[in-house]
């Protein structure tokens, strides 16, 4: 597999898994606006995954659906940050904000790529992600505004910080640290990044759920 399809799959897997995790709030978010927001964000992320899988599929002579659902659980390249299942609001917001911040840094590099297909899709994705970032920022502002919100949010960021570092390559991690520390107004501890390629137990659970229909109807389900 080329470096190009390896990169496309890593990002597509991030977006697919995060989209799936975000969709777990559909119907049970703390209030209706967030039900709508997280469902929309999930839809966007899964759309991004599809577009990236399609680019990779052309090169690998397969289809987006096969890449999304027919690989073995061990073959996914998503960062551990998006594998975690944390149905708790402060952690959901912390992951959302950390991921979007890391993703913005990654997309800025891809938008400047000399590969016009990658630059084009990255630029289109980034314009949608801008709204996710605004949504995340609104929540960071809200949580940091009260004592309890601040305490819960800071705990969540501390727990997820080593995972957030793992979303990016070595070279881009200092930029992430700078942005996150600046927004929080405090230093974050030196942490060993939880690297891409490591599989949390939740990955297999999510994979089981996500691929259930494909595995039960291998020749294709008809509705």
């Amino acid at each position: 597999m080329s470096d190009r399809s390896d990169l496309l799959l890593a990002i597509a897997d991030d977006e697919l898994f995060l989209g799936w995790r975000n969709s777990e709030w559909t119907g049970i978010a703390p209030f209706l606006e967030e039900d709508v927001a997280f469902s929309s964000i999930a839809q966007n992320e899964i759309g991004h995954a599809r577009a990236l899988y399609e680019l990779a599929a052309r090169e690998l002579d397969t289809t987006a659906d096969e890449l999304a659902f027919d690989r073995d659980a061990d073959e996914y390249r998503c960062a551990p940050l998006v594998q975690l299942r944390r149905l708790e609001w402060a952690r959901t917001i912390a992951r959302h904000w950390l991921y979007e911040t890391a993703d913005e840094i990654r997309l800025a590099i891809l938008k400047a790529s000399d590969d016009s297909e990658i630059a084009g899709i990255a630029s289109k994705i980034d314009r949608e992600e801008a709204y996710h970032r605004m949504h995340a920022e609104m929540w960071v502002e809200r949580l940091l505004a009260t004592g309890e919100g601040r305490a819960r949010f800071n705990d969540a960021v501390d727990e997820l910080w080593p995972y957030a570092l793992g979303v990016l390559d070595d070279a881009l991690r200092p930029e992430l640290r700078e942005r996150v520390e600046e927004r929080l107004g405090r230093k974050l501890p030196d942490a060993e990044p939880v690297p891409r390629g490591r599989h949390e137990t939740e990955l297999r659970q999510l994979w089981e759920e996500m691929t259930m229909v494909r595995r039960s109807a291998p020749t294709g389900a008809r509705w």
Binding site: S40, G47, R127, Y131, M134
Partner: protein, 160 residues
């Protein structure tokens, strides 16, 4: 069959999610080329995950077949669509249907401050005294705002 005829046929297809405007008004038709019987149309999607995309493709293909052509609808995944591609006529149709049209991109990407404090006019009464209720709405392309003057919630097309 001429390209003008194809464009006219496409201008009759309503957007699946906001039928008040056509696919041409929405700006998703990037190009139309004819070579003999073959009609190649480039479709540039609004939001990447838009579930209406397949339906748009199918309806464009049907429109071409009705003109006697062989359709080839290519979805381009570049950055060519933006809300600036919505035609002037399309913007007015949106407003008349109760959707506030997007602000132009000229001023650069929208910021959170602009969404919260910016001037967004109510499509019903025209008042600029409106507040952001939710960045997200019934489809990815819309936000929800509330008009303090006529006390009516309304959908605002996101600037993209």
């Amino acid at each position: 069959m001429t390209t003008d005829e194809v464009w006219s046929a496409l201008a009759e297809i309503p957007d699946p999610e906001i039928p008040a405007i056509s696919l041409v008004d929405l700006g998703v038709v990037k190009s139309v080329e004819i070579e003999g019987e073959r009609v190649r149309i480039e479709l540039t999607p609004t939001f990447i995950g838009c579930p209406a995309l397949e339906r748009m493709q199918a309806e464009m293909a049907t429109a071409v077949e009705e003109l006697g052509g062989e359709p080839e609808i290519d979805v381009v995944l570049d950055d060519s669509w933006s809300t600036d591609r919505i035609t002037a006529e399309g913007r007015e149709k949106l407003r008349a249907a109760g959707f506030a049209p997007p602000s132009p991109r000229a001023a650069g990407a929208t910021t959170l401050l602009e969404l919260q404090r910016g001037v967004f006019r109510c499509p019903y009464c025209g008042s600029a005294d409106t507040t952001l209720e939710n960045i997200f709405g019934p489809t990815p392309c819309r936000s929800i705002r509330y008009c303090n003057a006529c006390r009516q919630p309304f959908e605002q097309f996101k600037t993209l």
